[in-house]
Structure formats: structure tokens, C-alpha cells
């Protein structure tokens, strides 16, 4: 196994707010290998930025430990950690030229003028900025400012590159372009990178691994594929991509397979996920109780109404043709709404609103997850 670039052990942060305490980050554990790119994904307020700021040293954890390259850095001040931080709004020094912005850290480190000059030039070349050394941040476009912020950090050759939603201030097109560039740069330099975002396509497309966070806790860590196809919790299933969740009564449990009652008297069997972490907020599967069936909209096939036991029956409540596929909203008898995306093929029958249809779910692409405990 490669050397660990970062090791977080039970990292917890509580903030004092009004008269109480808020746990922003709750016992986060994470190991990051050298050269890995890890994105932190989650809704706002999930603790992803706080975690990143603790790794940087802007915040000190309330408990737990942070190890960078096998050195305990839990209490080390920011300026001794050798990390590079790219801020959401870039935080370029407005009173300094591009050159002085990029040279800032090298000067603080006390390097020789000549070395500084070479390094700054290289860094600016690397991010694709030429002839901007004497300009001021106010004279640059948003994308250029972003590049300067990157150059300012990579010129320091940091142990860790930390990025806090660095692309959220750019327009959509530039954002997608910079995404690829940052990833390319990260691979070229072989630099370990932690990247916080709330944009899932950004998180999925850039990372070796993704950390999905919710309410201060890590919900799941894994590759884009793992997280999409094997969500470990209802939150992850719902947060990543689109997912239909049906609550169905369990009739029998066999190893990793669950059989449930469909609404029309039939049965349906699919594999189930037993979360690897023990979570008290989750109910175990039990016969006679409901389990949550997670189905991606693209795993559903809509067919003309047939009413048998081996399919689900519903009424089309919305039918939208978007070119590559048809997006249906199907309302079940119990008023649950199921989304189905059917790839469009020539001469395919498109069902219209109000029509009664049936749909089948491919068990291979369906998944049972434990339900959340109801609050009593």
C-alpha cells in the first residue's frame, strides 16, 4: 500500500451557537493516498467545508486527529502545514500584481529572488497564463483569477491541495472546461487533492473517490461507480443522480435477497444492502415491515397496461419528450410517484398523460435499503 497523504481519525468539530452546541463534523474517518483526488460532496451545511478547513488548519478539531504524511498535524498552525488552499472567491490579494500574488508564499518562505522568478514563470505557464505578471487581479476575468489562484498554490509544491468550491463563481461553460484542466493538472503534478463541491457532476467526473457527507457525517466513500450503483444509504441513493424510492412490505429474507409484496398482490425480489457501518437511525429488515426499494429511472420499462401480478400498474401523470429519451411520471394507486426515463427509439410508442400503463423493474438494477427509523 502506498504511503498515506492524509489520515483523519474521528475528527469532530462542535461550534458554540447561541446557548447550545452544534456538531458540524461528527467523527469523520478518512484515508487518502498520495496522488489521489478526493471530492467531498453534500448539501450545504453538511460539514464538508468545515472538514476541509480543519485539514487546512483554519479550524482546529474539537476532538480526533489529523495526520498529514504520517506527521500528526492536528494542532499545527496553517502556515506550518505545507498545504495549498484555493478559495471559493479566489482571495487574490487585490493590492498585488499577479506576479506578487504568485510569489507571495515563496517570499514568505525566504527563497532567492532568482528562484522565485523562475518558479512563478513556470507556475503561470502551467496554468496557461502568459504575459499577465504585471496585471492586477481587478484587470483579470473570473477564469484568469481562478488560474492565478491555482498558480499561487501549486508554485509552493504543497503536500495537499485543498479546494473549496473553486469553480462555483464561474459560468457554466467555463466551469466544465476548468474541471478538466484542474484534473489534468492534478494528475500531471501527482499532487494529492481534496476538493469540496455541491455540484455532483463535478464531484463524480473529477474524483478518484468521492466522500458523500450529510449532517456532519460521512455517508459513503467510494468511486463514482460504487456510489451510483451501490449506495449505502437512502440519502446517498437520493442525493446522487435521480432515484425512485418505493416502500414495500417484506415477505421473506434470504441472505442478501429480499422478497416484498407488490401493490397488486405479486412479489418482487432483489438484493439488499446491509450498511457496513452500524447506524442507530436505521431499522433492520424484518418480515412484515416495510423496506425501501431504490430504482433508477432508467432501470424501468414502461409497457401497455396488462394488470397482471408480475408488473406494477400506474397512471401516466406526466409525459415529456426530451429528444434522447422520454421522461414519464407514473402515479401508483397509493399516490406514490415514480419517474421513468425511456430511451427513445424510432417509432416507439409514447404514452400520453392519463393513460393506464404497467411497468416492470429489472431486479438486477434494483436495490433494497433499510428504512430510516420513524421518530416517535
Amino acid at each position: 500500500m502506498k504511503k498515506l497523504a492524509l489520515n483523519l481519525t474521528d475528527v469532530t468539530k462542535t461550534f458554540q451557537k447561541d446557548d447550545g452546541y452544534i456538531t458540524a463534523v461528527d467523527k469523520v474517518n478518512l484515508q487518502v493516498e498520495e496522488g489521489e483526488m478526493v471530492t467531498f460532496l453534500g448539501p450545504s451545511g453538511c460539514g464538508k467545508t468545515t472538514t476541509l478547513r480543519m485539514v487546512a488548519g483554519f479550524e482546529l478539531p474539537t476532538s480526533g486527529s489529523i495526520t498529514i504524511r504520517d506527521q500528526d498535524m492536528t494542532n499545527t498552525p496553517v502556515n506550518k502545514r505545507k498545504i495549498g488552499f484555493v478559495f471559493q472567491n479566489y482571495a487574490l490579494f487585490p493590492h498585488m500584481s499577479v506576479y506578487n500574488n504568485v510569489a507571495y508564499g515563496l517570499k514568505a518562505r525566504g527563497e532567492k529572488d532568482k528562484d522565485i522568478k523562475d518558479k512563478v514563470k513556470n507556475a503561470l505557464l502551467l496554468v496557461g497564463l502568459k504575459d499577465t505578471e504585471n496585471r492586477y487581479p481587478s484587470q483579470l476575468s473570473g477564469g484568469e483569477q481562478q488560474r492565478v489562484a491555482l498558480a499561487r498554490v501549486i508554485v509552493m509544491e504543497p503536500n495537499l491541495l485543498l479546494m473549496d468550491e473553486p469553480l462555483s463563481n464561474l459560468d457554466a461553460k467555463l466551469r466544465i472546461h476548468m474541471r478538466t484542466e484542474i484534473r489534468k493538472l492534478q494528475k500531471t503534478l501527482g499532487i494529492t487533492c481534496l476538493y469540496v463541491t455541491h455540484d455532483q457532476s463535478e464531484a463524480l467526473s473529477m474524483a478518484d473517490r468521492i466522500v458523500v457527507m450529510n449532517k456532519g457525517k460521512v455517508e459513503q466513500v467510494g468511486t463514482a461507480f460504487e456510489i451510483y450503483s451501490n449506495p449505502q444509504s437512502l440519502f446517498v441513493a437520493d442525493f446522487i443522480g435521480q432515484a425512485n424510492i418505493m416502500h414495500l412490505e417484506v415477505t421473506s429474507l434470504k441472505d442478501e435477497m429480499i422478497e416484498v409484496n407488490t401493490h397488486n398482490g405479486g412479489v418482487f425480489t432483489a438484493r439488499c444492502i446491509v450498511p457496513d457501518h452500524i447506524d442507530s437511525s436505521v431499522e433492520n429488515y424484518k418480515t412484515g415491515k416495510e423496506a425501501a426499494l431504490v430504482i433508477r429511472p432508467e432501470s424501468i420499462t414502461v409497457i401497455p397496461y396488462k394488470g397482471g401480478e408480475d408488473s406494477f400498474n400506474a397512471v401516466v401523470s406526466s409525459s415529456i419528450f426530451v429528444g434522447s429519451h422520454v421522461e414519464y411520471e407514473l402515479t401508483l394507486a397509493n399516490n406514490e410517484v415514480i419517474k421513468a426515463f425511456i430511451p427513445y427509439t424510432n417509432k416507439m410508442r409514447i404514452f400520453s398523460e392519463g393513460e393506464e400503463v404497467s411497468f416492470v423493474i429489472d431486479p438486477v438494477n434494483a436495490l433494497f435499503l433499510p428504512r430510516k427509523k420513524k421518530k416517535s
Binding site: 494542532n75 496553517v78 502556515n79 490579494f93 493590492h95 514568505a108
Partner: protein, 569 residues
Amino acid sequence: MSTTKVPRTRSSMAKREPVLFGTLVAIWLIFAIFIFLPIIRLLLTTFVVDGSISFANLIKIMGKSYNMRALYNSLILATAVAVAGTVLGYIFALAVTRTSLPPFYKGLLGAVTILPLISPPFTSSISLTLALGPNGMLLNALGISDFSIYGFLGTWISETLTYFPVAFMVITAVLNTMSANLDDAALSLGSSRWRMFRTITIPLSLPGIGNSLLLLFGASLADFATPLILGGHTFPVLPTEAYLMITGMFDLKGGASLSFLLLLPALLVFILQRVLIGKKSYVSVTGKNGAKSGFGKLPLSLNIIITAVCTFTVAFILYLYAIILWGSLVKVWGVNNTVTFEHFGYVFAHGKKAITDTLLIATLSTVIGSVLGVLIGYIAQRKNFFAKRIFEFGSMLNYALPGTVVGIAYIIAFNQKPILLTGTLSILVAAYVFRYYATGIRSVIASLAQIDPALEEASFSLGASTVRTFTHVTIPLIIPAVLAGMRYLFIHSMTAISATIFLVSVRWTLLTTRILESMTELQFSQASAFSIVLIVIVFIVDAIMLALMKWSTRKFTQQEAISYEKIGA
């Protein structure tokens, strides 16, 4: 591995941020010596008789009808000045923000109102004496012989002219932030221009009016120089009474007790003002789009009144300044009108020490005060620490107290060992620093609030130390605010007198005290010449500082909109 460690939030600041900790300790120590010690000594002198707490001194003071009249006069005068100054300031503010007067005229209004702000506080008293005093120029011209400027009337006029520019600035700011759409809405709903003015403009500017009333009340209450020159024996007020009791009768206890009477209303005003500002005005600030669409026009009759009042006031102020200039150039005021430069000759021959002393003291105060102001403002805005509220209150205390109170507290505190400072340069500098660095602190705090902490974090994360970050990132970004504070400090260190009149000595003297001496010796021409020299010096330095402020921001003014804005969070 899973053992929970002790929460680190409790780890001591001394270890975590040694530089900050050291600075804090040093500042607390300075506060203890120059702010808390004097005020405590003042209270002890007032309330301790023969080693036990007693109200005897206070009762003795209040038993004398003359003192009670001084208290009454002080409050009446302060109220009158607050009301008149606010009305005048409001009219000027309306003229600048709500009328279609030509731009050059508005510029003139702005320029003329700056004059009283940068002049020594008794400039208008001197010129009023020259115009309306015995043998006054205006009286002679009008043929009035039985008129006395001394007393309530003269003091009131003089203080109103001196302080209304403050009201003007405060109210202008509020009038400018109002949304013009409200005027449009009122007019479109069928209200008349008078009704619009009465129901929209005035109610929405109430916060500005309230703030202005408090500021002017406090300023008048504390004013020492004006009543000393114009009050005369018929109109005693607390600051002059306290001064005379100490310098004339050497009664330190009596002076301390009188200044205690002065301290109470002053502190009350200070606290009221903080509450008022803390609540934030309910003016609808909707970016700058309000100002662009133009405010509704005022009724014609009001326009005429505003134009008349402004023109008269500006003419009168210019006349007063012209009179001082004239007074400094004639041989003997009112007797021999031959133009001569002999008074300036006198000033440079015999007043040279006063000029160099004043400049030295003002420069030292400005430098030391600015450094302290930046440190205190930075710490108060960016850091959290034990007893922060007391820290902030303490830093502003000397500013909130009337100068006379501070002056008396300083002689009581520093007249004896272990800290014997009377007669030294340091006591004068300290008096100015802790009274007038307040503006610097406030502008630094306001400026820092505009700067995203991410800029400092960026510096830390690039490996820079706390100190390097402060000197290379924070300071350059707040330079305009620092210069604004320096400007205020320098002007007041050159011109203020209420506290330092108690602290001057043979070794260290000030231009302002020379002016006062000349006035009491009825050497009007000398007083005028001293005043002119002082005003010119202040004016030049002020212009330099203003130019520096513009120059220091030239590089990144465009940037402000982008980088200072807090995004996300």
C-alpha cells in the same frame, strides 16, 4: 486510537497565538495606565474623604448656587446647540441632496462646512468677538453700541457654527441612503410635495436627526474654549468652572467633583448613541439604484428657505474667517487699520516654540495613535478573547468623556509617583492619543468588516506568519481607513484644547494655548495671526493626507467590488 482528546478550544491563547497574546497584554496595560487609572483616581478624589467613601465633596459643590447654575447653563446650552445645529445641518443636507442648486454651489457648501471642522474650536469665538464684541466691526458698521456678545447668545451662536458641520455630515449620509422610489411612490399616490417631505423624508431621516442631536449635545457639553472666551461671568458652564476652580483656586477636589457632574450626562449621551447606532436605521437601503432615479423635488417655498439659510450661513462663516485674516493684518484692531505683517513676525519670533511643540506633539500623537488604533481595531474586529466588551468600551472611554474631565483626571493621576508625568511631553501625547484615536479605530473596524477573511487565510495557508500577514496583506488593504484616522487625529491634536489646557507647562506649550493667552490679554491681532498659522498648517497637512488616501487606493479601487464582497459563506 479512539480515545477522545480534551477539547482544544480551551487551549491557552498564549500558546496558540503568542503575538496576539503579547499585544493584548500590552494594550490592557496601556489602558490600565492611561484610561482606567485616571478615571478611577478622579472618582476616588471625588468620593473619598479622609479614607472613607463620602458624598461630602459632591454635596459641597452642589450646595453652591453658582455651580448649580453652571450645570443648568451647560445643559440648556447643549440642548440649544443640539437643536439649532441639527436644524442648520438638516437644511444644508437638504440643499446638497434634495435641491437642484448648481453643483458649484453645492461644492461651496461642502467646502465651507469643512472649515469649522479643521479649525481650532474657538476660531468662531475669536471672530465673533472681533465682529460683535466691544468695538466690533459689524456692530460699528451697523451703528449698534449697546450690545454684548458675551453670555448665552454668543456662546450659542459660536458653538452652533462650530458643530453644525457634524450634523450636516451625519444627516447627509442618511438622506443619501434613502430610496428615491419612496418619493416617487408617495407622489404617485397623490400626495403633495409638502406631504411627501413631512411623511417620507423627515420620518426616514429620524435616525440621522437623533444621532446628530446626541453628537452635538455631547460636543457642546464638553466644549471648553468657546464659553471661556464668550461665556463671561454672566454665563458660567461646567467645563470652565472646573477649569477656573483648579487653575484659579487650586481646588482639585472641587474640580474633580464638578467634572463628575459633567461626566454623567456625557456618558449617558455616549451610551444612548451606541444604542441608537447599534439598532441600525430602518432606512430602506436598496443598493444604489435608489439614488440614480433622483429624489422627489421639495416644495418651492422650502427650496427658497433652504437657499436663503444656506447662503446667509455660508456668507457669515466666510465673513468670520475673513475677519480673522483681516484681524491678523491690521496694526491695532479697531483702532489702527494699517496693514502690517508684524503680528506674523511676532508669531514666528515668540511663538516658534509653540509651533514646533505643537507640530511635534501632533505628529507623535498621530503616529502612536494610529498604530494603537490599527492594533485595537484589528483585534476588536478579527479576534475573540476574554472581556472583549470591556476592552472595546475602555478603548472609547476617553473619547466619550468631555475633554475637561479627561484633563482633570490626568493631572490627578499623573501628578504624583509612581507615574509622575505632569509637565512632560508624554502626558500631552497620551491625552491626545486616547481621546482622538477613536475615529481611527472605528474606520479600521469598518474597513476590516469589508475585507474577506479569506485574504488573510490565503496568506497563512501560503506559509506566511501572523505578523507577515498583518504587514503584507491586512495593513495595505486598510491603509485608506488608517489615513482617515490619522487625518482626524492630526487635526484634533493640532487644535483641541479642553483636556490639554490642564497639562501644558513651561516646557511644553501649544499653539492653542497661545491663542487663548492672546485672547485673555486682549491681543486680538496676535490671536488672529496664531489662528491663521494654525489653520494653514492643518489645511496643508490635511490636503496631503487626502491626496495620500486617494493615491493609496488607486491600484485596486476597481477590485473592491469583486474581492471585498463576501461570496457564499
